[in-house]
Subunit: 135 residues, 2 copies
Amino acid sequence: MYKVGELAALFNISADTLRFYEKNGILKASDRSSSGYRLYTEADKDRLDFILNAKSAGFTLVEISELLVIEVNKDQRTCRDTKVLIDHKLSHVQEKIQELQRIEKALKSLSDSCVGDSTSALYCTILESLESKKI
Amino acid sequence: MYKVGELAALFNISADTLRFYEKNGILKASDRSSSGYRLYTEADKDRLDFILNAKSAGFTLVEISELLVIEVNKDQRTCRDTKVLIDHKLSHVQEKIQELQRIEKALKSLSDSCVGDSTSALYCTILESLESKKI
DNA sequence: CTTGACCTTGGATCTTACTTCAAGGTTTAT
DNA sequence: ATAAACCTTGAAGTAAGATCCAAGGTCAAG
């Protein structure tokens, strides 16, 4: 059994984060000590591991909740249930990447057009581009 | 002179957004009518154009404020001042892209490992991966 | 028996860019 | 003259994921 600070230390997160996860129904300590301290079991630790792995894979906490529902009721769910979530997330991430790449291109073209020296900004090509509707 | 809704319509944004920009010091209507309506000039319209172009290039409103300070005091600023902002933003965007690409890779590898059919999730490789620390 | 490190709770705060609301005044068209 | 469509203000709400705070209880060491 781990106290909140102990479990947090194991995963390099804060005790506040664990309390936040509990408040949001994503990870509840299985027990409490007589004095009210949260006590986490090995199963709780495994669940936290799952949560942090999913987070690192880019899932939001709401999405992780959905994954946990499947994980916990595995025997009543199919591979398809899981894959649908992953693929949905994947295309979302790919959209974000494309939008950022569009922005990257716009910034690069702004930057490349400008020498960036001590010339007065009066004729700065970057500012000129932003003034007109060329992006 | 444009009323708030008129200027908003020109740029396909909401009147609320313009009021929000005013509250945040980014775009103030140059005049008011006798009854208190906001009245925007052509110069205001140009400024809004600049703001929306910068937004489309990925700048936050705070960053746009910084750009506007340079834009408005062009004669006292250098190209370098401008380029520093752009390049800083560019590397920030590139970092975000890399993080999203890491996530994309993780999601792809999860998705590819799973056929996604009606097999029970008991042996779903996606869930197995999330359970252990393999990501 | 006291110090310090830990734990409890609810609630406030942060960031970003708006959006929504309530209660009311103005303008325009019919 | 009245209804629709506009405008005003300040305040509160939204998402997301925490982080921080205050006021207080608990536990182990010296």
